[in-house]
Point group: C2
Chain length 716, copies 2
Amino acid sequence: LVRREVTQIITPGTLTDENLLDPRRNNFLAAIALDKQVAGLSWLDVSTGRFFVTEVESEFLNDELARLQPAECLVCESEHDRDELTGLRESEIPITKRAPWCFVAEECHRLLLEHFEVQTLEGFDLDSDQNSLGIVAAGALLEYVHETQKRAIPHILRLEPYRRGNSLLIDETTRRSLELTQKMRDGSRNQTLLSVIDETVSPMGARLLSEWLSNPLMEIPRIVKRHEAVEELVQNTVLAREIRDELKQTYDLQRLTGRIATGRANPRDLVFLARTLAVLPKVKAKLSERSSALLNELEANIDLCEDVRSDIESQIVDEPPLLLTDGGVIRDGINEQLDEYRELARGGKQWLAKYQTEESERTGITNLKIGFNRVFGYYLEVTAAHKDKVPEEYIRKQTLKNQERYITPQLKEYEDKVLRAEERAVDLEQQMFQAVRDRVAEEINRLQQDADILAQIDVLAALSVVAVQQGYCRPEMCEEPILDIREGRHPVLDKIQPSGEFVPNDTRLGGSTGLIQLITGPNMAGKSTYIRQAALITILAQMGSFVPASEARIGIADRVFARVGASDELGKGQSTFMVEMTETARILNSATPQSLVILDEIGRGTSTYDGISLAWAVTEYLHDVCHSRTLFATHYHELTELPERLKETSNWNVAVREEEEQIIFLHKIVEGSADKSYGIHVARLAGIPPQVVQRSQVILDTLEADHVGGQNKQKI
Amino acid sequence: LVRREVTQIITPGTLTDENLLDPRRNNFLAAIALDKQVAGLSWLDVSTGRFFVTEVESEFLNDELARLQPAECLVCESEHDRDELTGLRESEIPITKRAPWCFVAEECHRLLLEHFEVQTLEGFDLDSDQNSLGIVAAGALLEYVHETQKRAIPHILRLEPYRRGNSLLIDETTRRSLELTQKMRDGSRNQTLLSVIDETVSPMGARLLSEWLSNPLMEIPRIVKRHEAVEELVQNTVLAREIRDELKQTYDLQRLTGRIATGRANPRDLVFLARTLAVLPKVKAKLSERSSALLNELEANIDLCEDVRSDIESQIVDEPPLLLTDGGVIRDGINEQLDEYRELARGGKQWLAKYQTEESERTGITNLKIGFNRVFGYYLEVTAAHKDKVPEEYIRKQTLKNQERYITPQLKEYEDKVLRAEERAVDLEQQMFQAVRDRVAEEINRLQQDADILAQIDVLAALSVVAVQQGYCRPEMCEEPILDIREGRHPVLDKIQPSGEFVPNDTRLGGSTGLIQLITGPNMAGKSTYIRQAALITILAQMGSFVPASEARIGIADRVFARVGASDELGKGQSTFMVEMTETARILNSATPQSLVILDEIGRGTSTYDGISLAWAVTEYLHDVCHSRTLFATHYHELTELPERLKETSNWNVAVREEEEQIIFLHKIVEGSADKSYGIHVARLAGIPPQVVQRSQVILDTLEADHVGGQNKQKI
């Protein structure tokens, strides 16, 4: 009689079960629609309702997917094998193929209009002609969500156009090389930039922080607004702590809202919502009359939602059960009928106890017991020993090994009354609960806005905590392509190394100091660290954070490029060196005078002279054509001749102190070129057998002796 | 009245829900117990019941974890921060800390004895004194499973000791470098050796194949037994196809068994089990009278389990609903009482239709309808228009906007009769179903044995399919440390490149041909591919597979080492070069005359002369001390002098044809040393701007001209 239907289809991208989701990150479902050169891309977090759309040139599709890391990606089955999707197919992202009719433009457009109940998408700043591919992707995505969720999804309130130009571009290789959110080696979150700055106290904040880090800003006024807010919280650590203490009391408002909107919220969810709303007045009070514009704005926009909160608090008990069917969700004294049913049920149970005692006394069956099972309801249980005392009017229903079970008319009467009363109480509670949930669901817009605000406050406070704990400074931003960092540190190493051990370094590029630094010197001395920290500091500054330095002046970068290490793609028929050259080509073809370029070894994958020649010519090109700020760490001592020829280029090296047998890396970058690389020293530290180490030294001495004569070189 | 309790705690390592598990891989829960130098390690797949234990020296712990890739790892909270677990902590494996009392030796031992209902663990070939650490790990693991599953786990029938010495050792670095089961770049399964040979048709087979690949054998008789079976299937492709067609009809017997044992199996699971058992006689028939020992053995051990199958088939309908509570699970005609309830329920519904018609006619309420809700059961619904026709005896229960709802004594009588009948039918079905399930659960031992056999047959058939499709040959195995591969191919590239494009190469090491090959030559010409394919072919042969070659004679390897590419571990304060040297040191310190060593560039992370010196000394050490079969690809042209000094060493290079401006890589390895590396040519192919390419060529010409004079070198 009760029909059961499939109520929800669960797929990786449409998961909403909190136990299976990482609260710190968005769980995006993405959809791609392809045209000739361009791809429409849309993504949605079903659990929070945030829904985005964009169009990108196909070649940047992988960069965007790397930024988003979707949990599932929808593609048209007829487009699945196209070249543009090679990167996707080879990635770990689960692909779901959809029928071509899901990607019909008019249908997708119609679906969006219908869902948002609008006449046109212009209100979302989308043009159905110019953004047609994005609209197809968004429509196909929404269609899939409707199909899998099988219920209304009213918490998806708007479609946000995302424009690449608005944020600092970081391509996939760079993102991986710099380990912004994932470690290169194993893809873990540990020891990434994100893990170091994530001092947020709420899942909403954690997700927003990750979003900010993936999309640093490019407009100085917006950046400065964030810096100002962080600064105010840095200067008032008591305020920051108090706000964070309040935020710790909140639950994941975005995901709660999602569950309420889709009718999946349980009684506890509503109580959690009310508790979260109870925090709002306190946060608002703490934020009143602040000097920074952003904090003021956030404070002004907090909607206390007192109506929603009192609706919940007045009806739902403080500690409801997880399951509605357990009963006891609605407060006593709210509904007369409900109170009556409950009274009846309670009375019934007392009757049951009384009946058992009475019957036991009347019949002399001392261990008479009342039991219940689903097949024939309440029964009296008599052990074999007392079998002969069973009165005539008992009706036998079941014989077990050592006992028999009976019913009586009185028991059945009781059953009807009490069981029904309990059932009815639960059913009535269910109706009342659903009514509250439906009313709350109508206020989702306001709740989502509050969720956004709490997330922003959490991120700003978190950044202030990092700044204070790690001794960051507020960077000065400018349009000029310069980079002037005093006592800069690598944010990750600075955090994980024991306090005071990390050696800070200045970095100066652009302006009067030259655009390109060539860094030579031994391994393990910190060249890689030094060049990476400049990129990380730039990204931190542009996302709105303070930076690990004593002082910093940072010219807005339009792109950050990093090429470090080497990774093989044998499957693609690319050698290590081919990968290296492809990445280098991409930098040379795209870097602008506003870009920051980090190169860690170029040409290592080929023979010595080939490598030197290429590294040399690449440096010339960056200097003459791209004119980008560049940090280039290299083992080719030969390149130290370049500054004589290229005026914007200078030599740097890592200071080393030799003491008898010992070599001490000072991790300090100083002007000038290095003369030794200490490779054999490192080999010894790594555990290479002593006889190999000694023999290497003999060979090295011979080689160097051979080449001393080679100094009178021709001019290149 | 119905008490709800937590029935199961779900954690990553104890997941059993099929929708959340990858059927192709085991989902292992692991536990570690530490002592001074040794670690006890135990692992279990809760879904299939396979349970292992071992002890390893702490330094190999990471290798084992890399091999197992557990979904969750238990450690004692007091041991969590120990150095031995650094690798684990930095990995992506979720760690669950357990209280120290879970790791108390006697308690763990007792728990295992109790679970397996044995007096001693000696029956599992475990000694409580010698294997005490492993027993602690296994006991702590079992304790956790009891705690989370909250039910009996009778399908965990035995504890299998795993001994490292039994299988070819492949350390973590080598496993990653060779991309056996995961791609280096993104950890995906695509284009790995596993993906290429996985032609299994059942999840059980897929998991076992992965296990064989992770644990290649070392004993020739066991390997040959597998080769023989594969050969028989290669020669009889019709048989292989027929067996595979049968196996395609099976369901995941291991996981089905697991669900049955833990009482979580639904009606469909039992039907799937019966269908799977129905395949057994056909498979057994096909395998009868085969010539290979292994196929014969497997055939002989198949237990048809006809009793189990007929028990299910006689009681459960062919297409039962997923949920027991939907009813209709048990066949008609099995149980009189059940048939009676069903008849009653069906009759009741007819009565209901009749009653509606009668009442409608009697009262003249033409649109009278019968409805149902949970609050007051069945009711008659009358629209406002007909309100005045309602007879007196109707009892009003609810007034809605346009209609009123009534009950009558007849309706309530109906309700009691029919609703109860349906409920009782479902309850009775539930009891009967559970009885079947309990009986089946008692036969788990036999079912698991069949599952193991089906998995082995599937793997052997899959290997035969790969061999036929890809033209593999049966390798000859020997104890002598030689490697003689004729027309060998890289199994992955051979598969993904268009047919016939991959260029095969011979590889001969050991015996009369010298132990060490130095391979020089240009990039993209296939050096890396050539050296890796030798390692992959060795691993394939030792796991029991045919190999991609026209002929192969393979001396059993005790370890395979591969050092390729470079990966940074900045977080650990290790530079690329430090990682490279650490890995090299490990090879030099562990390689034996029975090992196979693959080196792809040594010393690239340091300056040129340091690098050459180290590579030179490493080669000498491998030659003089380790005496291991070695393939060494290098860009250091200087090393080509080595064969003059080391008798077991020879020079090889990759053939290139130059035609006017074009350079054609022939991918053929030929004896002798290379003279050019063509790095600039590769740079042009990668899209480096033409002016950079031209300039590099000029610089290269100048450099080479400078060094022509340096040939009269001192003797090293």
